[in-house]
Symmetry: C2
Subunit: 316 residues, 2 copies
């Protein structure tokens, strides 16, 4: 019997944790990750894909367990030398991590697509999971703030999310197409479910869904689409989700997340700390502990989400 394929849409650290759980779940599945590239940027002439790297490093156990991004057992000689040359040092580039950026930049320059390059990196890291950028076209998240328009990493890392967000723009999205491997995975007859990982809905998932045809193709796949709540007890576990929702004048609540994904998702995984909201959600839900601190937590959340998916059919 063929294994079920699961497609997971993911952004940064939180999404990668669930992706890791899905990869390690007892259920034998073929896992495809569709990763946000709106956070990609060119820095010191290097093409950096932070969310792809977080996915690759997390799933290959190469990630720095302290930070959730970058590589473990990292050294920082390159950064020290950059300082000497008065180059930008606000974006941390570890010496090992740098190899990923240099190789990616070089291979893109030879005309390879980002999905081809990503596939090769995943393979080198020993991953059996399919890791695909949402698009091979350039989509860049720009954050319009009270300090002006900021490229995502400038907002997120350099300015540490301090500027007040007015609105978020996915530059290039209107002209972008889903990566061909995304389309292919969506047509897999063994596709069982699509999972929206608990990444920031406004910064990490929105760029993926902003690609023309993406939402339609996800729906057209005819399998249940489930979002895992990025809020735990009405708060983001990590990152600026809460702050951004406030600045965008949105109620900081799992209900808002459900509303945000309305028309796309068939089911919602609610955190047990938000159980009091269950009655106000008019799509199928499960209420579980979604907080992922340990490897076991990740697997448990993944298995409970997969079990939930198997009970659902896509609503029409």
């Amino acid at each position: 019997m063929n294994k079920q394929r699961i497609i997971a849409l993911t952004g940064g650290v939180g999404g990668a944790k669930l992706a890791d759980g899905l990869m390690r779940a007892a259920n034998a599945i073929d896992l495809t990750l569709v990763v946000n590239t709106g956070d990609d940027f060119n820095h010191l002439g290097l093409h950096i894909s932070p969310d792809i790297d977080t996915a690759l490093y997390t799933l290959s156990e190469e990630v720095n367990p302290e930070t959730g991004w970058g590589r473990r057992d990292e050294s920082w000689s390159f950064m020290q030398a950059l300082k000497q040359f008065s180059a930008d040092t606000w974006f941390l580039l570890g010496d090992k991590d740098l190899a990923t950026h240099v190789i990616r930049t070089q291979q893109l320059a030879t005309g390879q697509s980002l999905s081809t390059v990503t596939h090769a990196l995943a393979k080198s890291l020993g991953l059996a999971v399919q890791v695909i950028p949402m698009s091979n076209d350039t989509v860049r998240t720009w954050v319009h703030t009270d300090m002006g328009e900021l490229e995502f990493q400038h907002y997120f890392v350099r300015e540490q999310c301090k500027p007040k967000v007015q609105h978020i723009e996915f530059r290039g999205a209107a002209e972008a197409e889903p990566a061909p491997e995304v389309v292919q995975a969506l047509q897999d007859p063994n596709l069982g479910a699509i999972i929206l990982c608990p990444s920031n809905p406004y910064l990490s998932m929105a760029p993926i869904l902003a690609i023309p045809g993406m939402r339609e193709q996800l729906r057209a796949a005819g399998v249940p689409i489930i979002a895992v709540s990025p809020l735990v007890g009405g708060q983001a576990v990590k990152g600026p989700t809460t702050k951004i929702m406030q600045e965008l004048k949105l109620p900081v609540s799992a209900l808002q997340i459900v509303a945000h994904y309305a028309g796309l998702i068939d089911g919602f995984v609610l955190d047990q700390r938000d159980a009091h909201l269950a009655g106000q959600i008019n799509i199928p839900i499960i209420t579980i502990d979604t907080f992922m601190q340990t490897a076991e937590d990740r697997i448990r959340v993944a298995e409970e989400t997969l079990a939930f998916a198997s009970t659902l059919k896509q609503h029409k």
Copy 2:
């Protein structure tokens, strides 16, 4: 009184040692280094200028004293990560060293000239010496061998100079121009002498001299031009000079070096171990110990060369 300007043409490790001695000589001089860029190459998408870096690192005391190239107190995490990705690892790139290549590549990509980029790097490293690439145009040394045509670093590093040299080509030289700063330095009214450092005459000095107009402009400066012998007791101190001279069917002798530079140089610094050849050299010479093992050796050879220069006038 204005200080005397000295221009030194230099290649790799041996040349950088004399350049370092010239910088530290008791004589108060303004030093301009004109550096071979025929060894430059693109590796992993990075623009690498090995001779410029050897000059920069040597003069700033950043050089690895064990090897004479690369940076001291270097770490190698990047190389380890490259191996994991099955990328080329035959050219060693230390983590600190990498910052130089990344910055250079990025700045060249923004349209800056190699001389502008080199000037900024030298300044960051605290150098008062002027370090100029021979040209801002692309000149690449190709070594035609019994194993086929090899780009210089492929011959020199990857193949460890093992292939038998048939002839050496400076691709692009015919269309190249001296860097504007070279022309400017040659027109400095305080110019006192031009020194050809003891770098490989065929691999390191020849690309500089292959640039159309370079020889003529050196001569037109009207100051004595002196070559320091790269042979010590009829042998190269380091590198493939001896092997290449044999393969090119040239007598391995200081006499051959003098013949090679005939019409260009006004004086020659002969190593004392080759003193028996002095009678056969028909231009002014000094015979000294040119072997530079210590910092004191470098300064001594530099000071003796400068003293020699001050006794000479350019022959017409």
